[in-house]
Symmetry: C2
Subunit: 228 residues, 2 copies
DNA sequence: GTCTATAACGGGATAGAC
DNA sequence: GTCTATCCCGTTATAGAC
């Protein structure tokens, strides 16, 4: 008895047109995002794509490889957003708003992507164990450098820039990643235009709040601010 | 051939003293926290406890049951922290600091717990699918009510209290949950007294920033603040 | 490059002795 | 309450035809 059922009766051999690689990655992205790495079977992906599991394995070598390729794309997109927003000549507060808006649009426009990314950061799955950790660290370093510049400039208040960077990333990622379980807690649908707009307004306000210098506040040099 | 190797040659029958249930849960907590639900095998837990996998299954019925019992404890602890901090008579800014400090101490003192909790929120595993979702929602509602009160009081600035609640939870959880992958990004060791103190200072400052009313700012009634 | 078929493995769960 | 022994299922990966 074969390991899986065979829903289609198709002959072996070359197909007229091969399923494009990008399409396979796109299909895999949706399914991985919905179910997580371990709860996703290659049969699910293959079925959606209309090919066999063995064919999928032939193209990508292994399940882990397919997953890596797909996450590499997401991290690359986000890294590009960060890099383009944090040019050396930028107005600091404005750059904060621009990047925040773009990131929220990116995550809000791709249900499940935030989940998948955060899951990977939490679990240290196949992607991070490879080259992915480098891309993530690089993105954090770029962000940290930008924040430190803003502090020197006086636009942002003095504090530990690495702690601040992680807080900001947390504000962005947590919300979209936990929507499946906290979605009912929010009033409206999150992945609609209005839902994304509501979150964007909140994110921009919150990120500004944790960063920007306050006129009336005394200047400190340590990491502890605002504790009296 | 048996499914697993048998490192010990022990006879069947009642042991002199049974392994306490609490100890089994504690062992399971550490391993689940390190490896996640799907990457944890009952053999790992059983081996650490010095019993067989079948014995573990006898006590808890199933792997999912064991996991639920353990996560229920963590969520219960955090919910109690939130409830005790948000009494109706509290000073708002002070309550914010007190709770933030306690939560950071809790997560900082139990490596892996933040990871496990966030993973569950992201994935919607066996715990959340049961009664867990109720406890999480309840905790969020209590927090939201507190924040709304603070806004009415004038201590916090007017904004969408639910968006604010999720931002605050994100600030707390993201950091500790992603330490395995971003730990190298921070200078010091995170789960030391100093490491926890550094994070605590940052969290208190950031949470205050996103909540507190600013003296010089005009009053708005909508959810959008700080966008010009 | 896709197919069929099968090998090999790991892990959750159960039956019954002690 | 713990053990041994077994069952059974899902998943990865490979072999070889077309």
């Amino acid at each position: 008895m074969p390991a899986t059922t065979h829903p289609m009766t198709r002959k072996a051999g070359r197909p007229r047109i091969a399923v494009p690689r990008a399409r396979l990655v796109e299909i895999a992205r949706r399914i991985f995002a919905d179910n997580g790495y371990h709860n996703t079977t290659l049969d699910q992906v293959a079925e959606q794509a209309g090919i066999r599991r063995a064919s999928l394995l032939h193209r990508f070598g292994s399940k882990a490889n397919l997953y890596r390729e797909l996450l590499d794309q997401v991290v690359g997109d986000l890294r590009n957003l960060v890099r383009s927003a944090f040019g050396p000549q930028a107005d600091f507060l404005e750059a904060l708003d621009v990047l925040g808006g773009r990131v929220v649009d990116y995550l809000g426009g791709r249900p499940g992507v935030g989940r998948m990314l955060l899951r990977e950061l939490v679990d240290g799955g196949p992607y991070l164990e490879g080259a992915g950790i480098q891309a993530v660290q690089d993105t954090l370093e770029v962000t940290t450098a930008f924040l430190a510049s803003g502090m020197s400039d006086g636009a942002f208040r003095e504090q530990d820039p690495r702690q601040l960077a992680l807080t900001i990333v947390g504000i962005h990622l947590y919300y979209f990643a936990t929507l499946p379980s906290t979605g009912a807690f929010i009033g409206a649908e999150a992945y609609t235009a209005e839902g994304v707009a509501v979150r964007k307004a909140a994110v921009l306000a919150h990120v500004r709040s944790v960063c920007e210098a306050r006129p009336g506040e005394e200047r400190r040099t340590g990491a502890v601010i605002g504790r009296h």
